[in-house]
């Protein structure tokens, strides 16, 4: 779930919970407020009544009778004064049930004793509770509507706000992680944000990438230097062996051993120069300004490699559009890329098999070349590693030094060409080379 969605769900959930709690507790709140108010008004009535008694005397109410009682018309309130025992002293407010004209009504009743003309009287003022509680339901409903409306409004505001708040995170991921091509040569701009946490994340990523760059640069430098430094000693050995082989005094047996040594040295030489070649590609030491007509390039390769095709009695079919020209490429590198792939298609092929080169334009308008062979195929567990250095899919045969596809990959990365492989063991592999549309001349 997205962070913004999570935030919205959480915020809305908590709001709903609080509103629900409020609405549920509303009757109690209303009841307690109402009873406070009732108590207050009862006391007020008491004060007024006692005031009257004080000013006009008890007869203002009693009118000569023993007691006094008065109900409002709807029996919502009543006042009663009656004589009480002289020692009786009460002053309470409580809720009691009264039966008035057959109806059981709940009253909030104030009882208060007071003295008038040396006599003790009991003042009783009542107010129905029903008249208070009847407002609870509508109140709750209105509160519910109002609060729901408010929640809806705040959700909209929250949505907008969280989106704005979280936007830098998306930007950081997009600019620092997704749209970056290794190695990260271009210095990336810090993402603008006032959120401290995002700033921290952004800075951490920038410094992490700088670190990766520094290390990668070092590794590259090392590969370049090491393979370069090996060239001189290899040179010396090779030339010494060449001279030695030309020596008239050596026997046939010695000559054969020298050839053995030369083979080993040649292997060392090819590994070093392949590594050096890869590091030169990675260091941008090749100019990409050539336009290459693909058919011509493939025909050149076919000629160059024909002896291997014949050797295995392979059919080699080039079926691609005549007009296709690729621009902004390095001719030699592109040649090497196709050469290595086709060479592999031959090397891992079966006797009498075929190698087919076809093309297509995909939905995005990018140009694709397919190199399909009928060879031994690549096991699915190996397929992810075939472009790694010194990785050989088929170790049982002496097939090479494991740098051919690494070179292909370096050239592809350098030209922004994508290479995908699909393969079925014992049936063959297909390499799909995708050239971005902009490379079509």
């Amino acid at each position: 779930m997205k962070l913004s969605a999570k935030l919205i769900y959480f915020i809305t959930g908590s709001k709903l919970a609080i509103v629900l709690l409020f609405i549920l507790s509303m009757p109690f709140l209303v009841a307690s407020i109402a009873s406070e108010y009732t108590n207050y008004s009862l006391r007020d009535q008491q004060r007024k009544a006692l005031d009257k008694v004080h000013k006009a005397g008890i007869d203002y109410y009693l009118q000569g009778d023993d007691s006094y009682g008065s109900y409002t018309m709807l029996k919502e309130e009543y006042v009663a004064i009656e004589p009480a025992a002289p020692e009786l002293l009460i002053d309470t407010i409580k809720t009691v049930e009264r039966i008035v004209e057959g109806d059981t009504l709940s009253y909030r009743v104030l009882n208060h004793t007071f003295k008038a003309k040396d006599k003790n009287y009991l003042l009783e003022i009542g107010k129905t509770v029903g008249s208070i509680n009847q407002y609870n339901k509508p109140l709750q409903r209105i509160a519910l509507y109002v609060l729901m409306g408010l929640i809806a409004l705040t959700i909209v505001i929250d949505l907008i706000f969280t989106r704005v708040l979280i936007r830098p995170l998306g930007k950081i991921i997009e600019s620092k992680l997704l749209n970056r091509k290794f190695p990260f040569k271009d210095q990336s701009e810090p993402v603008k944000t006032t959120t401290q946490d995002f700033k921290y994340l952004d800075e951490s990523l920038i410094s992490l990438m700088d670190q990766i760059n520094v290390d990668f640069e070092k590794e590259r430098e090392f590969t370049a230097n090491a393979s370069h430094e090996l060239m001189t000693p290899i040179s010396i050995l090779q030339n010494k062996m060449e001279n030695l082989l030309a020596d008239d005094q050596i026997t046939e047996d010695v000559a054969m051993r020298i050839v053995g040594m030369m083979k080993t040295l040649d292997r060392l030489k090819k590994i070093s120069s392949s590594l050096l070649f890869i590091s030169r590609i990675e260091n941008d030491q090749f100019v990409k300004l050539a336009s290459v007509k693909l058919v011509d390039l493939l025909e050149d390769i076919k000629e160059e490699i024909s002896h291997r095709l014949e050797d295995k009695d392979l059919t080699f079919i080039i079926d691609i559009k005549d007009k296709v020209t690729l621009k902004n490429v390095n001719h030699d590198l592109l040649f090497q890329l196709f050469y290595n792939l086709i060479n592999n298609a031959i090397k891992y092929n079966i006797e009498g098999g075929s190698v087919t080169v076809t093309d297509a334009v995909n939905k995005q308008g990018d140009y694709q070349v397919f190199i399909k062979d009928t060879g031994i195929g690549i096991a699915s567990e190996d397929i992810d590693f075939i472009f790694d250095r010194f990785r050989k899919a088929n170790l049982s045969e002496n097939v090479g030094y494991g740098l051919g596809l690494s070179i292909v990959k370096s050239i592809a990365v350098y030209h922004n060409i994508d290479i995908q492989v699909t393969s079925i063991v014992k049936q063959g592999s297909t390499f799909t080379i995708t050239f971005p549309r902009v490379m079509l001349g």
Binding site: H228, M231, T232, I234, S235, I236, Q238, N239, K240, E242, N243, L245, A246, E252, A255, M256, V259, M262, K263, D266, K269, K270, S273, S274, L276, R280, Q285, F286, V287, E304, H307, R308, D311, Q336, Y339, N340, N343, K347, N398, V399, G400, Y401, L403, G404
Partner: protein
Amino acid sequence: MKVLIVEDEKTLAYEMETFLKKAFYLCDLAHTVAQGLEKIEINSYDFILLDLGLPDGDGLSLLPKAKKHNPEAAYIILTARGNLEDRITGLDLGADDYLAKPFSLLELQSRMQAIARRKFNVKEEAVPLGEFSIDLQKRLVQYKEEQIELSRKEYDLLSYLFLHKNRVLTRMQLSEHIWGTFADDDYDSNYIDAHIKNIRKKLNLWAPTEWLETVRGVGYRIKK
């Protein structure tokens, strides 16, 4: 022909000297830019083989000065740096060729011969090869007046062997000459064998080719 080898790796310089002497070149050695300049000022050379990474400076810096004293000479740059800029700068400064280390001495000699043909207008008549004749200038092999149809690679093989006659060339050396350094990771000798077989077959139609020897376990040789 006179050759100056400017190379700070002494062992390497001696190996080149040994090889070139056998091919009847006269060699001088210099191990620094200063020594190189000194020799160039005194002597006149046909070939100057120039290493780029010298202890007292870049070989490229020597090139313009050397050209002043010795404009006729052919300059071949030898370097382990092998990057493109060096190559371009070197050729811009007037170098005639460029060889990346490690190179085969056979290749060096073949390049020198090619330059000699081109630059010094060394007119080479067709030279006899058994009962055949080979014209390196026109890239032709003939039997009497009849031209023998060889593929480009077959001719390259034969002329390379001829250039280094009386010397056994290994299959590796031959395949490197023909397919270059991009002769990828397997120097499969079968292909050389197949080519030699074809050459023999084509030539044998006209005359015997016993001068083209197979040296067991080593390679091939043209004996003369």
